[in-house]
Each structure stands twice: as structure tokens, then as C-alpha cells.
């Protein structure tokens, strides 16, 4: 390798380090500010309440006590653990309620737990995308339109 080649190598190393530093900074700031707990309802119930300031909750909608805002711009309901129906949490959501929201459907909620009111205040409510792509684990097909 000639001496110009060698000096070029250093230019590449420096460029790589600069790109790496920039990317590293972005990633670290992203990790520190955009990390959220990904929790099932049972896991969320097991967490200390003060740590539930930013969380994404996975669960399914209970049959009972769905209080819909007639304008479809909010809903209060109880979310239950996907595997353990005894584990439940009350949710209040403000915003556009998706069409696919209904009892039994799996939902993903983002928000925080309000310890005084004992409710999870959700800012986003997403129902699982209805790609009817696969059977559930038990091998039975879910009823059509179930969202799975």
C-alpha cells in the first residue's frame, strides 16, 4: 500500500468515526427518550405504579363496562390480560375510536397510569391490524372479523 493510500485510509477512518459518532448520538438520545415499557396487562399490574409513566400496553377488551362517547371521540373500558382474564385494568381513552374496536378484540394502548383515578389514560388506541393471516395458537380459526 502506497503512502497516499495509507493517508486515504485515515480519511476513511475519520469519516467512519464521524458518521459513527453522529449515528451513535442519535441512537442514544432516541433510546433514552423514546423507550417505553412494552407490557401485557398482568406485567403492568405487577409494576410499581410510579414507573408506569410511559407504557405500551397489550391486552384485549372486556365484554363488560364499555362506555362509549356517542361522538366516537373517546371510550372507557376494561382491558384484560390476553392469557389471564382475571388480570384487568380500567382504561380511559380520548381520541378517535377505531372501527375495529369491540369486545374481545386485541388492543395496543399507549399512555400512562393515573394512580389517583386508578385508570390507565391512553393517548393512542390501536386494534390489531386485521390481517387475517394465520390461525391462532390453538389451531382454531377465530370468528371472521375478530381482528386476527
Amino acid at each position: 500500500m502506497s503512502s497516499t493510500q495509507k493517508s486515504q485510509k485515515w480519511v476513511y477512518v475519520v469519516a467512519l468515526l464521524l458518521v459513527g459518532a453522529g449515528v451513535g448520538y442519535l441512537v442514544l438520545s432516541g433510546l433514552s427518550q423514546n423507550s417505553v415499557y412494552f407490557l401485557n396487562v398482568s406485567e403492568a399490574l405487577a409494576m410499581p405504579e410510579d414507573k408506569l409513566t410511559q407504557a405500551r400496553l397489550f391486552g384485549s377488551v372486556c365484554e363488560q363496562d364499555i362506555v362509549r362517547d356517542p361522538s366516537a371521540l373517546g371510550v372507557a373500558f376494561t382491558v384484560q390480560d390476553k392469557d389471564n382474564a382475571d388480570q384487568t385494568m380500567r382504561v380511559e381513552y380520548r381520541g378517535a375510536v377505531p372501527d375495529t374496536f369491540k369486545p374481545g378484540v386485541e388492543v395496543i394502548l399507549e399512555g400512562r397510569f393515573n394512580a389517583q383515578a386508578r385508570v390507565f389514560e391512553a393517548t393512542t388506541l390501536l386494534t390489531k391490524c386485521p390481517s387475517k393471516y394465520e390461525k391462532n395458537e390453538q389451531g382454531q380459526m377465530r370468528p371472521p372479523g375478530y381482528g386476527g
Partner: protein, 627 residues
């Protein structure tokens, strides 16, 4: 026919293993005369999978519910077109489709001029790798992913396909992705075969056209998916950074990086090992994408459920990775570490490829973060969409800036057209000042928009100033794709941060404001004529400063076969500037409606740019002479 189809695939599997083992043993004895035999075997495998696919398509068309797969994804109410396209609606069918793509492309390979330039040794290695991939698919199709399961007794009715998926965007999104994934099999096998055979020079030239086709399919699939999400899901956005969306973006980023390091490799005769590794990485990431979707290890908005394909996919990926590392680590005499000056075209292509790979790495990290973070947190920690926006968008904007500057650098060093570069930078500065004055001050969006304009300026200036660029057809393709990317960058830079949204409950005759627009609700119409669904349509008119802009008629549809679940059909006033997008959230008997309006500036440029990318890329096609 169930048993016959299944047995045909099973025999293909046995034959594939047998043929590969036989050719492998002969190759170990330095006997490479098995090429015609391998080619014939590939033709037979292709004919079998084509026949089997015809059986499945016919069963879908006839709604033969004795096939579990047909029962799961169709019903008698579906139009024929959607019933046939249910071929790739489920896991089993989509694997069959993917394998069909691989097999047919392998068959085309036999007759391609590029293939005829290979020596027998390389051909044998190529087919050994190719059969390895096919054997994996045949194992999946005859084991965990069988599309020919028989139901007894035969059900009277099928489960149907979700109405949201009955949309042209969704019908062609999966097959395009799978064709892209399938396409990368050929460059991958060719790269490994050439390196193993010690013929490191020409695989880049020979696989170039395959690479372009695969890239176009993958790009088209991703863009169509985004367009579908925008048109059909009614949330007013097009990209939610969901794991399933990200999964298809990762191989695209790796494939795009490879496309650019391949240029350096071809023109400067260097980076031999890196290119082999990158094309293999792209191929592996296609399987990783499927793994994310199928393994159920990562929670996603898409409810695919866990399937039995997770472990086989993981084993296959690790085995191929081991093979790739082994082949890449073999020393070859022509491996050079030749480096051009950093401030040169190859240097900029390097930088761009690094950024693309970094982006791929970041998205990979984000998708896997709930798993990766598990060792040091008590509860799984994931990353929200804000992470990707914060980390990826600045890098995309920087990448766009490099795209606008790169063409002005010389092949070996320095800047070959200082005037062109100067004019491009001037265009950027003028745009930056103008946008800033107009109030578009969000820094990343500003950098993105300015870079997008600079790319457009650079492409135009290049064609004006350089007759060499004008005369060379592939440069029309390459810069045409860049122009498409520039339009997309501008579209994203505006439609992301400068989108305006408003929600309201309106009585008949009431109005709401959304951005600079006034939206007035007129009437609600109920239509019960269609047997498959009831349609409820709300009619709105839109004005700006008292001038009529257009009418909106978003719908709520209640489908008969889906538990009477309702689906919103968004309505929009198309525009190359600000597109007005309306979703009907709810209505009640008294006639009041809840509506969501979003104003999406320049959003259509994303689809225009994306379409341009996919169409002009074919101009890069280069004819390969037969020897």
C-alpha cells in the same frame, strides 16, 4: 388433488436433496460434468411447483372448501379476482408463492445470457446454493406450512377475506415483496458460487439485472403497502414504523447499499468481499423480515399469530449466515484493499452506503429492542415511533444531501464540475431561505426539503451540462430513480411535520375549520342495496376563503360477513399541494356525525416519486452478450 399436490412437493424435496447431494459429491471429486443434470432437475422442480400452484389457484377460484387454505381465506361472496389473489393471503400460500418465484427465476436463469458466461465449476456451485434454498422452501411447504391440508367433512362456507384487505393496494403489496425476496436469491447464489470458484470478477456484472428487478419489486411492494395504509386504513398516515412495515424496509436498505457498493466494485475493481457479504445480507434479511412476521416473537399491530415457521426460519438463517461468513473469509488473490480518495465519487458512494447500512442497523435494532433489552430490564422495553423519527429522519435527510452532491465528484478524485456543484448549492441555499421565510423552520424537514430540491436541481443540471450522461441510457435510469427519491423526500419532509388534523361532531348544516379550510356537513345517506354491505355516506363541502374547493363523501361500510363490523372508507380531495382527507368516525340516528379531517401537504409526491423510481429503474437494464 390434495394428496397428489402434497406428494408432488414431497417428491420434489426428496429429488432436490438427492440431486444436490449427488452433484455435491461429484464436485468434491472435481467432477463438474453434472451441470446439464442440475439444469434438468431445476426445470422439473419448476414444472412441479407451477402445476401445484395451478391446482391451488383453481381450488380458490372454485371455492373448493375441502382445502383448509381455501376455507380460511375465501368465501362464496367474494369476487373471483379477490378469491384467486387469496393465493398469497395466508402464510402457507405465501410461502408457496415465494418458492414459485424462486423456482421460476431459477428456470429463467438457465436461459439467460449471463448464465452462459459462467464456467462449469461456477455453475455447479451456483446450483448447489440454489438447491439449498429450494430445499428449505420444500421442507416448509411439506412440513410446517402445508397449503394442501384436506378438510373432512367439507364446510359449506369459508371464512372470507377481511374487507380491509380487499383493495388493489393490498392485493399486490405482498406478491411484489415476495417477488423481490425471491429475486435476491439469484445474485446471492451467484456471488457465493463465483467467490467459491475463485471467479471473483464478473458476478457483479452478471447479477446486475437480477439485482435491479429484485430492487424494483421490493420498492414497489413497500410503496404500495404505504399507499394502501394511507388510502384504506383511514388514519391519515402512511408509515407507522410498525415492526411488520420495518421488516420489509431492512432488506431494502441493505439491498440499496449493495447496489451502490456494487458500482464501486464494478468500476474500481475493489470491495470484492464486501459486495459478497452485502448481497448475502440482503438475502438473509428477506428471511428475517418473514421471521419477524411469522415467529410471533415481536408484538406488532399486525395479528399474524405465532406459527410453526419461527424455528425453521431461524435455523435456516443461522446456517446460511455461517456459510456466507465461511465463503467471505476465504482468501482470494484478487482481494485488494484499493481505496480512492474520500472526496471522490467512490468515496461518496461509500458514505451513502454506510448511511444506508446504519439506517438498516437502526431499524433492525428498533424492531428487536424488546428482545435485546431483555437482559438488563425487568420488564420488556420497546421503542415508539418517535424513536425512528428522531433517529432515522435526520440520517435520511443527510443521505439526500449526499445524493445531491455525489454526481459532481470525479471518479478518482476531486470535483469534476465545479460550476454544476456551485449551481446545485445555490439552488439549495435559495430554497432554504425561501422556505425559512415562509415559516417552514423545522430543521430536519428543512434539510430534507432543501436536499430534495438540490437532487432535482443536480439531476437537471447533469443532463443539461453533460452529453456523456445524456448519451448513456443507464444514467437516465439511475438519475431518474434519484429524481423519484427526491420527490419522495420532499413529500415526506412536508407531509410529516406540517400535517394538520381536526376532529369534530357536526349536526346537519354545521361547519368546522381544518387548517385554512372550512368543512360543512350537509347530509347523511344510507344505502342498503348492496347485499354484501350497507353503506352510510356523509356528504361535506369544503371551502377556502369562501371559495369552493370540493366535496368529501367519507363512508362507513357494514359488511355482512364480518360480524357486521364497520369499516371506514376515507374520502379525499386529491391535490398535488394540500390534500384534504376525511374519515367518518361515527354517526347516530339523529343524523349527527363525528369526522376527522387531515390536511396532508405534498403527500401525493411520495406516490409519484415512488412510481417514478420503479418505472425508470428498468432503464438501468444492460444487455449481457453471450460468449
Amino acid at each position: 388433488m390434495h394428496a397428489i399436490s402434497f406428494t408432488a412437493l414431497l417428491l420434489s424435496l426428496v429429488a432436490g436433496v438427492g440431486v444436490a447431494a449427488y452433484a455435491g459429491v461429484r464436485a468434491l471429486k472435481n467432477d463438474y460434468s453434472t451441470v446439464p443434470f442440475l439444469e434438468k432437475a431445476q426445470v422439473v422442480l419448476t414444472l412441479v411447483v407451477v402445476a401445484v400452484s395451478v391446482v391451488l389457484v383453481q381450488a380458490l377460484a372454485n371455492r373448493d372448501f375441502s382445502y383448509a387454505y381455501v376455507r380460511d381465506y375465501t368465501d362464496t361472496f367474494m369476487p373471483l379476482f379477490y378469491a384467486v389473489t387469496a393465493f398469497w393471503a395466508g402464510q402457507n400460500g405465501s410461502f408457496l408463492f415465494w418458492y414459485l418465484g424462486v423456482a421460476v427465476m431459477g428456470w429463467c436463469m438457465i436461459y439467460s445470457p449471463g448464465y452462459s458466461r459462467l464456467d462449469d465449476r461456477t455453475k455447479v456451485f451456483f446450483w448447489l446454493f440454489f438447491f439449498l434454498v429450494e430445499i428449505f422452501f420444500l421442507y416448509a411447504l411439506t412440513g410446517p406450512s402445508n397449503a394442501f391440508m384436506k378438510l373432512d367433512p367439507v364446510p359449506a362456507e369459508g371464512n372470507g377475506l377481511n374487507p380491509l384487505l380487499q383493495n388493489p393496494g393490498m392485493i399486490f403489496h405482498p406478491p411484489l415483496l415476495f417477488l423481490g425476496y425471491a429475486g435476491y436469491t439469484i445474485p446471492f447464489c451467484l456471488a457465493l458460487a463465483c467467490r467459491l470458484a475463485g471467479d471473483g470478477r464478473n458476478w457483479l456484472d452478471l447479477s446486475r439485472n437480477w439485482n435491479i428487478i429484485s430492487w424494483v419489486f421490493l420498492t414497489a411492494g413497500i410503496i404500495l403497502g404505504a399507499w394502501w395504509a394511507y388510502m384504506e386504513l383511514g388514519w391519515g398516515g402512511y408509515w407507522a414504523w410498525d415492526p411488520v412495515e420495518n421488516a420489509s424496509l431492512i432488506p431494502w436498505l441493505a439491498g440499496t447499499a449493495f447496489m451502490h457498493t456494487a458500482i464501486v466494485g464494478r468500476t474500481r475493481k475493489t470491495l470484492l468481499r464486501s459486495n459478497v457479504f452485502l448481497v448475502s445480507l440482503t438475502f438473509l434479511l428477506c428471511f428475517f423480515a418473514t421471521f419477524v412476521v411469522r415467529s410471533g416473537m415481536i408484538d406488532s399491530l399486525h395479528a399474524f399469530g405465532s406459527s410453526k415457521m419461527g424455528i425453521p426460519l431461524l435455523v435456516f438463517m443461522l446456517a446460511v449466515l455461517g456459510l456466507v461468513l465461511f465463503v467471505c473469509l476465504i482468501q482470494r488473490a484478487d482481494d485488494t484493499t484499493h481505496l480512492d480518495e474520500f472526496m471522490s465519487r467512490p468515496g461518496m458512494l461509500f458514505l451513502g452506503s454506510w448511511l444506508l447500512l446504519c439506517l438498516g442497523g437502526i431499524v433492525f435494532l428498533g424492531v428487536n429492542w424488546p428482545l435485546l433489552s431483555a437482559p438488563w430490564t425487568a420488564s420488556p422495553v420497546g421503542l415508539d415511533a418517535g424513536f425512528y423519527n428522531r433517529v432515522c429522519l435526520p440520517l435520511f435527510a443527510f443521505l439526500a444531501l449526499i445524493m445531491s452532491l455525489c454526481p459532481w465528484f470525479g471518479q478518482k478524485k476531486g470535483i469534476h464540475d465545479k460550476v454544476g456543484l456551485g449551481l446545485t448549492i445555490c439552488a439549495g441555499l435559495v430554497t432554504a431561505v425561501a422556505l425559512y421565510v415562509l415559516g417552514y423552520t423545522q430543521p430536519v424537514a428543512l434539510l430534507g426539503a432543501v436536499s430534495g430540491v438540490m437532487i432535482v436541481a443536480a439531476v437537471i443540471l447533469l443532463f443539461v451540462r453533460s452529453s456523456a450522461v445524456r448519451r448513456f441510457r443507464p444514467s437516465w435510469g439511475a438519475y431518474g430513480v434519484h429524481l423519484g427519491v427526491a420527490l419522495m423526500v420532499v413529500g415526506v419532509a412536508f407531509s410529516g411535520p406540517y400535517k394538520e388534523e381536526a376532529e369534530a361532531v357536526l349536526e346537519k348544516g354545521q361547519s368546522m375549520t381544518a387548517g385554512a379550510y372550512m368543512v360543512t356537513f350537509h347530509e347523511l345517506i344510507h344505502n342498503h342495496d348492496n347485499p354484501a354491505m350497507n353503506v352510510h355516506e356523509a356528504r361535506f363541502s369544503v371551502t377556502r376563503d369562501g371559495q369552493p374547493v370540493g366535496n368529501l363523501a367519507p363512508q362507513k361500510r357494514l359488511y355482512r360477513n364480518f360480524d357486521r363490523s364497520s369499516f371506514a372508507e376515507a374520502s379525499l380531495i386529491p391535490s398535488l399541494g394540500e390534500e384534504i382527507y376525511a374519515t367518518l368516525l361515527a354517526f347516530n340516528e339523529e343524523g349527527s356525525v363525528s369526522i376527522k379531517i387531515s390536511i396532508n401537504p405534498l403527500v401525493n409526491w411520495i406516490w409519484i416519486g415512488g412510481t417514478l423510481c420503479c418505472l425508470v429503474a428498468f432503464l438501468c437494464w444492460r444487455k449481457i452478450e453471450r460468449p
